[in-house]
């Protein structure tokens, strides 16, 4: 039996492989009809191969079998026996999905018959695709006059690449390189790197004519459209160029092959032996040598190492680390306080000196702690691409099934966010994308009628903005109908007519996030059943995020998600409100101003004030929280905002900034309005962390009414 731990490692690794596979497939698709990049094809092939080997090792035969079929198909593709087309890409995309589901089952120790059947069906599809359309043609290699002896040592893949190069009509060269035994590996890869931009290194063969005992010679078969002189000029000393083929392909009749100037023996099995002993993890050389034969240095290095030098860590352990750091931060502030009071102690000189010493050490500790904290935070960060790639695959499938014509536009996959946030994002984003496809985008006929481009666009765009990440899900579809939203909201009793009369366009649009709201009754196959936008919103709020909507009838809809970079440790502004301390996450704080009492105005009995020409609501936190208010002429106002919304929170006292570890409130208190969690201060006191997103939300919904006037 395999230990569960080992299995978990495998699942994690296999997932990574699949993610990479998915990514490469997308890139392949993005190339459109262009000839696939051999490097990319090889990378995909390798991924499938690794997965096959790994899963077989763990006795997951079903996975191994499907991966094997995929590998066969990719091999055929690589060798030019199959043509890259839409059905083939679909098949491979589905394979990745099914493999992911199977891995999921394997990790839970399940094995459902449904999935098994799906895998079998897919496997036979793949075999069919792999077998289809074998290319039968006159061998062009015969036509250009390449020494059969050389051809004899080529692998099928190399021959295929050679053929492709001949078909392109590029010149074929033999690059002879003699290097000293000491540094041949680095120099060989240098030459490879040099040649790569000018063409394709089809094969690297050990030469039959070693220079002397201290050196080793290689023949690189190289295809390039450049002139001979140009290539030669780029080559370093000790590397020479000669033609391999007699001529470039022309429609002339075949010529008898002429012996090559340097007769080549069958390839020595020197490195083949090494690669044969390599583990299943590295069945093929790493990217960078498209030839299918690795440069010697790579093989010997990679054979024993694992594929990546990354460490997989359970996020729970990072949380534990984070908590420890949080405690350390508390110790630090205590230490600083002690040092300060010792330093200021009057009378004796000794405590004073100690105090100074202590303070210096505390400062050093403080700096190291900051580094540690930043380091742990960095470790938690992962690119959004982890989720985006999965979504792109899903969209591809959904678009195909919907019969609509849609271009899926994606950017910002490299933006990094806390792992936990990224994980939690996949469901809300999937829901929004499905909505866009299902309800937003019109059918091609309808679009034509409206004079819109036939092909609709759905976008998933991310960017970082300060301490926040903004993700937009937009479509250029039908857009939302405000009057219809108003009707439905009234129908469902979500709002009163007086309320809707007062509402601005944006407020009306935001009604779609109310529980129990849906402008479409019929639940289609595509959109998630019974799950509405309110769930999306709740999910986001749990991540301290905010969602906003903008839509124009006929022009489309844009959902804007604003998320903090991390939830683990945040910098917060500590404030006092009638004797109680609260923490306001600094990522929501825009500025702090003081406002005179007589500068306050009211609009519809609601207090507002002005900051540099912008009027915004003035909210007395004490009043909202039902606490006794202090009478004052000048108010401290913390201007907070997320996305487009602004709000001034009147507080009594500013205590300064502090790094805090926010702890969620226990289950029973979840949903306490305006509070996202709690943190502890040095004296073990619990301090509430304000949920600015929720407070803004209440304001939009006109719910931020004072408890006691």
């Amino acid at each position: 039996m395999t230990a569960p731990r080992a299995l978990n490692e495998f699942i994690a690794e296999a997932n990574e492989i699949l993610e990479a596979l998915g990514r490469e497939l997308l890139a392949l698709e993005a190339q459109g009809g262009a000839e696939p990049d051999p490097d990319r094809l090889n990378a995909i092939f390798r991924a499938a191969h690794s997965l096959k080997g790994l899963s077989a090792m763990f006795g997951l035969d079903a996975i191994s079998r499907l991966a094997h079929r995929a590998e066969d198909l990719l091999d055929a593709l690589r060798l030019g026996r199959a043509v890259l087309n839409a059905p083939l890409l679909d098949g491979l995309g589905q394979t990745v999905d099914v493999l992911q589901s199977m891995l999921g089952e394997a990790s839970r120790g399940e094995d459902s018959a449904d999935l098994r059947a799906a895998a079998e069906a897919l496997a036979s599809d793949l075999s069919r695709l792999a077998a289809g359309a074998p290319e039968l043609e006159v061998d062009v290699l015969d036509q250009v006059g390449i020494d059969p002896q050389i051809r004899a040592v080529f692998t099928e893949y190399e021959e295929h690449r050679l053929r492709e190069n001949v078909k392109k009509g590029v010149g074929l060269w033999k690059v002879r390189a003699v290097f000293s035994l000491e540094d041949f590996d680095t120099r060989l890869s240098a030459v490879n790197k040099l040649l790569k931009p000018m063409g394709e290194v089809i094969s690297t063969l050990p030469s039959s004519q070693p220079g002397d005992d201290a050196s080793i010679a290689f023949d690189l078969v190289f295809g390039s459209s450049r002139e001979r002189a140009e290539v030669e000029a780029a080559l370093p000393d000790g590397v020479s160029l000669e033609p391999l083929a007699q001529r470039v392909l022309t429609p002339a009749p075949p010529q008898p092959a002429r012996p090559s100037p340097t007769p080549m023996p069958t390839r020595k099995p020197l490195w083949d032996d090494i690669s044969a002993t390599g583990t299943a993890l590295t069945p093929l050389p790493m990217a960078g040598s498209p030839s299918g034969i690795s440069s010697p240095s790579r093989v010997s290095q990679d054979s024993l190492r694992s594929l990546t030098n990354t460490v997989r860590v359970d996020i729970g352990r990072l949380d534990g680390l984070m908590n420890s750091i949080g405690e350390l931060l508390l110790v630090r502030s205590n230490l600083e306080r002690l040092a300060e009071s010792a330093r200021q102690s009057t009378g004796h000189a000794l405590p004073k000196l100690w105090g100074q010493e202590l303070q210096r050490e505390a400062r050093a500790l403080s700096r190291r702690l900051d580094e540690l904290q930043k380091g742990v935070l960095d470790v938690r960060m992962v690119p959004l691409g982890q989720v985006f790639d999965k979504l792109a695959r899903l969209m591809r499938r959904l678009v195909r099934e919907s019969g609509k014509e849609v271009t899926f536009d994606m950017s910002g996959g490299d933006v990094e966010l806390d792992k936990l946030i990224v994980e939690e994002l996949s469901d809300p984003l999937m829901h929004l994308l499905r909505n866009a496809l299902d309800h937003g985008v019109e059918r091609p006929e309808q679009r034509n009628l409206q004079g819109k481009p036939t092909r609709a666009t759905i976008g998933l765009l991310a960017r970082q903005q300060g301490n926040n990440v903004i993700i937009e899900v937009k479509d250029d579809g039908a857009g939302l109908d405000e009057s219809r939203i108003r009707e439905v909201a009234l129908e469902r009793g979500l709002v009163t007519r007086e309320q809707t009369d007062e509402m601005e366009r944006r407020e009306l649009l935001n009604l779609v996030f109310q529980p129990g709201f849906s402008t479409r009754r019929d639940v289609s196959e595509l959109s998630g059943r019974g799950v509405g936008l309110d769930v999306v919103k709740t999910n986001l709020q749990r991540l301290s995020g905010l969602i906003d909507i903008d839509s124009r009838r006929g022009d489309g809809t844009t959902f804007t998600l604003t998320l903090p970079l991390t939830l683990a440790i945040i910098r917060a502004l500590m404030v006092n409100v009638s004797g109680r301390t609260y923490a306001i996450p600094l990522n929501a704080v825009l500025e702090i101003v003081s406002v005179k009492d007589d500068a306050l105005r009211t609009i519809e009995k609601r207090e507002v004030f002005e900051v540099r020409g912008q009027t915004m609501p003035f909210i007395r936190l004490a009043r909202v929280f039902g606490l006794p208010e202090e009478d004052r002429n000048v108010h401290y106002v913390v201007v907070v905002g997320l996305a487009q919304q602004r709000l001034g929170l009147a507080i009594d006292e500013l205590l300064g900034q502090q790094d805090i570890v926010t702890k969620p409130l226990s289950g029973r208190l979840r949903g306490t309005p305006g509070v996202s969690g709690a943190t502890e201060l040095g004296d073990r006191r619990a301090v509430l962390v304000l949920d600015i997103g929720a407070l803004l939300e209440e304001l939009v919904r006109h719910q931020l009414e004072p408890r006691s006037a």
Binding site: R580, G677, E680
Partner: protein
Amino acid sequence: MSSRFAELLDRFFYRPDEDVGPFLADAPESDRDANAALEETPEEFLSFVLEGETYAVPIHAVREILKITVVTEIPRARRNVLGLINVRGEMLPLYDVKVRLRLAEQPPVVRAAADVPRSARILLLKDLEGDAGVLVDRVDGVVKLHLSKLEGTPELGVERNAIAGLARRGDDMFILLDVEQALA
């Protein structure tokens, strides 16, 4: 009578290995009802005092007993939530059950140890919905009660939803608290 003493006596007199239940079950003429009573092992409860009345909860539902330190009030929380307590880094709610049990009109304002009598404790109760603290006036101790001897609550016009039943032990009466309901 202190129930602590009762517990000591219990320990002294009660021997699980002397239980004759299994043998009786094999005897064909044995009375079924007597059987049930004899076979039942008493359950352990933690007894505590609220406004002079003695209450009890199953001991396995109690995570720990804490003294009151700092309680952070939670604005706009439900009325029976006294505030937030920090239990070694875990942020847990502290509940008042007296209002629910109609023992008091108003929940007390508790911010620090000075706001409550010295004998007051927090019972930290384990609960699926999330652990929660309950403020009690005094903790008496562990008592063994026979669940089969549970009485229903008499019709007195009191809040009965939060009470699971009554149990007697000698002259002492214990009101069994339904934790789920009491915190609702």
